[in-house]
């Protein structure tokens, strides 16, 4: 049996008096590519906010690699190997595309004040090495020609790709992607599918993916959980849940 990477156990979050996520439980196994689908307003992004520590749950537990991490701040969850992208891309406008990616490097010695001051050569060496890696990430998402531009000048689709490059750069073992393909040109969507498959196959990375694009979900995920109105509606393979009347009713019916 594969170890459980993320265990969502009865998570509940109220926003503005409404239970936007209501007593939801599911788990993501290590090395799995899992889909999180459901209609707009289902609470999917809120679930990501809970898993990445951006929001604290009102009830329930979150475990990562078997450790209770409920209520930890985002930076600590990142250090537990979880990194996410944002549905509304949050690029750092007044920083270059390359700097946006470099920021994601974990354990950069130059991010410590003492090293930055007193070990400039060691820092420069680390920076050169990480710059090489960041460029590889940019090449993966076809952003190489844009590396020196302020990130604020990218198009909507390019910003989503930058989010992906940043998540990959972080080197986390679990990557949460929130509608990463929305607004991205079709040939790049194919590219993203290949990147995710490759990372999963070769490096054993775990993915949890929110996406409305049925082809994308079908191509990538082995299992999906379906949410609607804050509740867990169904769970299983995509083909399995797509025959579930409740799912067709609340989600797939409208999409088709």
């Amino acid at each position: 049996m594969k170890p459980v990477r993320i265990e969502v156990d009865g998570l509940t979050k109220k926003l503005g008096g409404v239970a936007v996520v209501n007593n939801v439980s599911f788990q993501v196994d290590a090395g799995q590519i899992m889909g999180l689908i459901g209609p707009n307003g289902a609470g999917k992004t809120t679930m990501f906010n809970l898993i990445s520590g951006v929001l604290r749950p009102d009830a329930g537990k979150l475990r990562v690699n078997g450790r209770d991490v409920t209520g930890l701040p985002p930076y600590k969850l990142a250090r537990h190997g979880i990194v996410r992208s944002f549905q509304l891309s949050r690029e750092l406008d007044r920083m270059s595309v390359l700097d946006n990616v470099l920021l994601a490097a974990a354990d950069h010695p130059g991010e410590h004040m003492a090293n930055a001051l007193f070990r400039p050569f060691a820092v420069r060496r680390a920076e050169a090495k990480l710059t090489e890696k960041a460029r590889e990430m940019l090449a993966l998402v076809a952003l190489t020609p844009h590396e020196a531009k302020p990130a604020g000048t990218l198009s909507g689709g390019q910003k989503k790709l930058l989010e992906l490059a940043r998540a990959l750069m972080a080197g986390a073992d679990t990557i949460l992607l929130d509608e990463i393909a929305a607004g991205v040109a079709p040939h790049l969507v194919e590219e993203i599918i290949e990147i995710v498959q490759k990372l999963n196959r070769d490096l054993g990375k775990t993915f949890l993916i929110i996406e409305h694009n049925v082809g994308f979900i079908r191509a990538l995920t082995s299992r999906v959980v379906v949410m609607a109105a804050g509740e867990l509606l169904a769970e299983g393979s995509f083909d399995h849940v797509s025959r579930n009347p409740a799912v067709i009713d609340s989600y797939l019916g409208q999409a088709a």
Binding site: P73, Y75, L92, M95, L98, L102, L117, P120, A170
Partner: protein, 307 residues
């Protein structure tokens, strides 16, 4: 005239340090410190108390100013726990006012409004009047250069990149594993310590400090320097401080030319001139005279493919 120029440059060096300090807090990290003058004053009085009341050498006075200024910065940070937005602005404003009241009322320590006399100066013995002034200027410029080198190195490093990221959108670095609060704290403490150093230099230069030296006016000049010069760019902070001090100090010449104005009116006029400059810069160069660089600083070339 010569002496006058040396005096302006000496004052300018103090403002350069203040602007650099505010730049690491606001320019790089986005921290709204409206209490610049509070840390400046703490440095001035700490240094004075060390050298005069406690009879310590001037270097210890400066060191004490830096340490106490840094501690005060840490305390203010912790008071406004998340160090974010408007709350920090209000806490720092309150801090500066509290400090001014303390300087005024804690007579036993600060001599209150009568002024604190400081005999110790950053000079070597046996220099003439003119040479002394030049020597002090040299010491101040050296201090400003050291502060510049330290902060500029930090700004251009990966550490500085995290600070900029926090300024742009703190959720991004947070979800990438950076302890945002710890970075904000470091930036704020560092800036506060440098402001206190500036205060220490100032105190040993003017030799009499009164609570009136530490009013909002100083903070306004420092903020203007940073906005005019270019927030986020250390060289911009230097240029801004030089320009603003040159105008502010240079307009002292106006007083004898405009005898029909009262001294208060002349003082207001000087601020009007600087304010006009600020409006013009913000209108035509909103990023300041030397805008922040966006292209990556260090761009090592890609390693050529082997074979």
């Amino acid at each position: 005239m010569d002496a006058y120029l040396v005096a302006i440059l000496t004052t300018a060096a103090v403002y350069v340090i203040l602007a650099l300090a505010l730049n690491i807090q606001f320019g790089l990290t986005g921290l709204m410190n409206f209490g610049v003058v509070g840390f400046y004053g703490v440095g001035a009085y700490t240094s004075g108390i060390m050298t005069e009341t406690l009879g310590q050498p001037i270097l210890l006075g400066m060191l004490a100013a830096i340490v106490v200024g840094g501690l005060a910065g840490g305390l203010v940070s912790l008071l406004s726990i998340r160090l974010s937005g408007d709350f920090l602005a209000i806490v720092t404003l309150g801090f500066a006012e509290t400090m001014r009241l303390a300087f005024n009322n804690e007579d036993w320590l600060t001599r209150g409004p009568r002024g604190f006399l400081i005999m110790t100066r950053p000079v070597i013995d046996g220099l003439g009047r003119g040479a002394t002034a030049w020597f002090i200027l040299g010491v101040f410029v050296l201090a400003a250069i050291i502060v510049f080198v330290v902060l500029n190195r930090l700004a251009g490093s990966p550490f500085g990149r995290v600070l900029r990221a926090i300024r742009e959108d703190d959720l991004v670095p947070a979800t990438l594993g950076k302890n945002v609060l710890a970075y904000r704290l470091q930036a704020f403490v560092l800036g506060s310590a440098a402001m206190a150093l500036a205060g220490s230099l100032y105190a040993h230069y003017v030799q009499t400090i009164t609570p009136d030296n530490f009013t909002t006016q100083v903070a306004v000049l420092v903020w203007m320097s940073l906005i005019v010069g270019g927030a986020g760019n250390m060289k911009g902070a230097v240029v801004g401080a030089l320009v603003v001090t040159a105008i502010y100090e240079g307009t002292r010449f106006l007083a004898p030319l405009m005898e029909f104005l009262t001294p208060t009116q002349v003082s207001a006029l000087r601020f009007i001139i600087i304010g006009t400059l600020l409006i013009v810069v913000v209108r035509y160069r909103p990023e300041g005279l030397l805008p922040e660089r966006i292209a990556p600083r260090s761009r090592p070339d890609p390693v050529p493919a082997a074979g």
